[in-house]
């Protein structure tokens, strides 16, 4: 697989199909990888692929430093590839401006990441070139997809509050969660708007709640469950639980799953006349 990957990257760079390949390179220790940006065909041997390729490289699509390198080819796993679908739907990217090198994946991380448990995109849904044997994507039921939430949803109101307060208390407002998130691409995050200052930017329990709730809400109908926010959080806040809860509500209420379909309307930018009336009196 690695050979095929390098060969493809070399070909793309040689033919000037792309100017740069965003991929994974070997890290300081075997259990780590790091993002690499290959611009010369002779450097393609720096590319690698293994189960430690955890990063969602699509986040570099929002970084000016990376974009300056020119038209990219990007190595994506199935989960990461969903981001590209969303970015295109949200006018952040044109399909023709990117070359997608999809890699088939059977799970990453050691121990494997939570998101890999009910993975239904072992083979990416969108790619220009597929590296690796195509894997028949599995199907999971609604309940299986959101099984992780069960134990938290079962908690009493008091327990929920206490659990989340304990989590949010740890937040140091470092904003690693939004920096890593490929879909947090606003030029000015709401937390940086100071006239008025809706969200207290200091690490205070009050502002921590509004920040974490708002961050999650701003990903409603958008988050593709790459779990990067949770992975990078230095305070170990299980941020993806919030994202997942919203994904569950979005799917339950609007039959919408982010990143799976290039053509359906963005869940939070549309409506149906028969959307649920349950909470309205």
């Amino acid at each position: 697989m690695i050979e095929a990957l390098r060969k493809k990257a070399e070909e793309l760079l040689k033919n000037k199909t792309v100017d740069v390949v965003y991929g994974y390179g070997e890290g300081s220790v075997p259990e780590r990888t790091r993002p690499v940006f290959i611009t010369k065909p002779e450097d393609v041997n720096k590319l690698t692929w293994n189960k430690y390729c955890v990063y969602n490289l699509t986040t570099y699509l929002k970084k000016q430093e990376a974009r300056k390198l020119g038209k990219p080819a990007i190595v994506v796993k199935g989960c990461d590839a969903k981001t590209i679908t969303v970015l295109i739907k949200e006018s952040q990217l044109k399909r023709e401006d990117i070359y997608i090198i999809g890699v088939t994946c059977t799970g990453i991380g050691d121990p494997p990441a939570t998101k890999c448990e009910a993975c239904d995109v072992n083979t990416p849904l969108i790619y220009d070139e597929l590296i690796g044997e195509k894997i028949e994507n599995k199907e999971f039921s609604f309940d299986e997809r959101y099984a992780e939430l069960d134990e938290y949803e079962k908690l009493s109101e008091k327990e929920k509050w206490e659990f989340w307060q304990k989590q949010f208390e740890k937040c140091i407002k470092c904003y690693a969660c939004s920096s890593i998130c490929p879909l947090c691409f606003c030029d000015r995050c709401i937390v940086d708007k100071n006239q008025p200052q809706w969200i207290d930017p200091s690490a205070h329990p009050r502002g921590n709640l509004s920040w974490n709730v708002t961050r999650a809400y701003h990903l409603a109908g958008r988050c593709i469950n790459c779990e990067e926010c949770q992975r990078v959080c230095p305070a170990d806040i299980p941020l993806n639980l919030l994202n997942k809860k919203l994904a569950k509500e979005t799917e339950k209420n609007f039959k919408y799953r982010s990143g799976y379909n290039a053509d359906d309307e963005l869940a939070m930018a549309t409506y149906k006349e028969d959307d649920s009336e349950e909470i309205f009196k």
Binding site: Y152, Q165, L209, Y217, E249, F280, K281
Partner: protein
Amino acid sequence: MTEENKFEPRIVAFLCNWCTYAGADLAGTGRKEYQANVRVIKLPCTGGIDPLFLIKAFERGADGILVSGCHPGDCHYNSGNYHARRRWNVYKPLLEFCGINPDRIQFSWISAAEGAKWVETINGVVDTVRALGPFENYQKLNTIGSDTSVSSETG
């Protein structure tokens, strides 16, 4: 009187200009009495109510919030309330997931002709929130920092 009996819930209502605000006016014209715990903030449309407004109202000490606008299909702006409905359909479960009692955030459709429904709804919100008691959990968050500062100053 006991301490508990003294609790009067503080309710903030975000209302659309065309339906519920006018409905509340109609209740007034008809001199229909209701509990005075509500403070109304008027906006053109429920579709223009950002979830941040609700969070901010809790930060300012609200014990309960009502969001109310035109019935589906009747929006002055055609689809504002449909979009609002989507928004609250995901936002409310999120807050609930974080341990906020669902009765603290209520939603309704009240038309300009439904003065009586406004009275019934706002009384309902006040009563349910009164039963829940003050939203101490949230209000405590506000004071966490100030407590420390006070103690450090005096200590």
